[in-house]
């Protein structure tokens, strides 16, 4: 797995920004609003936000209150407030996360977004799209596609000098 860890994340982000721009153009979206999911997703979103030169401030979501495993796992001790500094109604949103695996985080994030209003559309951009989906959720933009075994975990380290790490559980 050393080859993944050697990947230069800023280059992946450049590719993502390009792909995202093409996607937005194809859909005729000129003023998207961007939302990052805490914590890694916010780092990726900040990088994309800069590369796309979006004027509107970045929104951040902490999906702790929308998780489906609260009664099994409990409260995230580091829960942060969600901040959406724009009106979600009728907006084209770009939802950003670091790693897409089961799809449950994205499900929770979309539920939360809909509690703020009714967006016109949502595009999903992730740094890493890896195997292990449990819900029918796929990204429109992905920096990297990985086929990993269930016991392998990929994690984005940051916020200074973003880099990917692959860990073997046990």
């Amino acid at each position: 797995m050393k080859d993944i860890e050697a990947l230069y994340v800023p280059a992946l982000l450049d590719d993502m920004a390009e792909a995202l721009e093409r996607q937005l153009q194809a859909r005729g979206i000129s003023r998207p609003a961007m939302v990052g999911i805490h914590t890694g997703g916010v780092w990726v979103a900040e990088a994309l936000h800069r590369r796309l030169g979006l004027e509107e401030p970045l929104g951040t979501l902490d999906i702790s209150f929308y998780r489906d495993d609260f009664t099994r796992i409990g409260m995230n001790p580091q829960v942060r407030p969600s901040k959406l500094p724009f009106n979600v109604d009728d907006r084209h949103l770009v939802l950003v996360d670091d790693v897409l695996q089961t799809g449950r985080t994205i499900r929770a994030a979309m539920n939360e977004l809909f509690d703020y209003g009714r967006p016109a559309s949502i595009l999903l951009a992730v740094l890493v799209e890896r195997s292990g989906r449990e819900l029918p959720i796929e990204p429109q933009v992905a920096g990297l596609h990985l086929d990993l075994a269930p016991h392998q975990h990929v994690k984005l380290e940051g916020p200074e000098a973003l880099r990917l790490e692959v860990r073997e559980a046990r």
Partner: protein, 328 residues
């Protein structure tokens, strides 16, 4: 009353009965979580699905509109189902004991009781006898404790003055003797490391051993408010007047009622708080209550976020080990 009853085997909040004996990390956890819940109010749908499918019973043996309403709203914003049950003392004369009432409600698969009772220790009693998966929140018991009110006051102070309680001088004014709010506030301020805690009241309304709680006692408002950062006024219960502890409302206002004139001795950026409802012209005049330094209405809205935090933290684990329950 040990703090252990309030924590589960992993040291997480299980019941919220009093601040006494709780580790400070629990208080910080409540305040931090409440920050996130405060943001939920900016959503179009002011609701999160955290406690979906849970049933919360507001069990009030003492009348209360404000506290019950904010607990109800907090539970609803967490998507729980809420049942309000007001029990006047007459139902006990029907021969049903408190434990019978409890067993009946438990049979309806309740997950949490929010309890207010005129007897000190009532919430502890209930917590010792509920089923292992049930949590109990104290919404005020006798003269003993009102921990969620104290936590919303701490949340307000932190929002207004910043997170460093160590540099704050906080004074509590009024009927300290009978006040469960004051008692819980003093414990909370201690646990959060407040720089100085003062109580200001006539001799008749101060408990004899209050200095053991680590507070400084003042009997004159003018002296007590000098240099304080936060001034918490307590509600004066009218029934105390009849007990000859106080001469009259008018006399109380003259000596302890807050006016702009008396406030001139406090710091210019002093924050004025009151648990509500205010007796205008008794604890303070309207000019102060509605003035720029008063955060009384912010306390009310923060109360919902803080109660959401307490409720969700106490409900966060599934079935727990049954080690605190006593045979009944």
């Amino acid at each position: 009353m040990s703090g252990n009853l309030q924590l589960d085997a992993q040291g997480r909040l299980r019941h919220f009965l009093t601040l006494e004996g709780l580790p400070p990390r629990i208080l910080h956890e409540i305040l931090d979580t409440a920050e996130s819940f405060a943001e939920v109010t900016s959503q179009q749908v002011k609701k999160v699905p955290l406690l979906r499918g849970k049933t919360i019973v507001n069990l009030f043996f003492e009348p209360s509109t404000r506290t019950r309403t904010t607990f109800e709203l907090a539970a609803k914003r967490l998507s729980a189902d809420v049942l309000n049950i007001n029990i006047d003392t007459s139902s006990t004369t029907k021969g049903e004991t408190l434990l019978d009432t409890l067993r009946n409600l438990e049979a309806m698969h309740v997950d949490m009781f929010v309890v207010r009772h005129a007897a000190s220790g009532a919430a502890h009693f209930i917590a010792r006898h509920v089923a292992p998966h049930v949590s109990v929140i104290n919404a005020g018991d006798g003269r003993h404790a009102h921990p969620t009110q104290a936590m919303l006051d701490m949340f307000t102070i932190r929002r207004v003055k910043g997170p460093d309680f160590g540099r704050l001088r906080v004074a509590i004014v009024g009927d300290i003797l009978h006040s469960r709010v004051a008692r819980s506030q003093i414990h909370a301020l201690h646990l959060l490391g407040a720089g100085e805690i003062r109580v200001i009241a006539p001799r008749t309304l101060i408990p004899v051993d209050v200095e053991k709680l680590g507070v400084h006692v003042y009997h004159r408002l003018e002296e007590g408010i000098a240099d304080v950062d936060v001034l918490i006024l307590l509600r004066l219960q009218r029934e105390r007047m009849r007990g000859a502890l106080l001469p009259s409302e008018h006399e109380y206002f003259r000596l302890f009622g807050l006016t702009e004139e008396k406030l001139a001795r406090a710091r210019p950026d002093v924050t004025i708080m009151h648990p509500g409802p205010i007796n205008r012209g008794v604890e303070m005049d309207s000019q102060v209550a509605d003035g720029p330094r008063s955060v009384i209405l912010r306390q009310v809205s923060y109360g919902i976020a803080v109660r959401m935090a307490v409720m969700s933290l106490a409900m966060q684990a599934g079935p727990r080990t049954d080690e605190t329950r006593e045979a009944s």
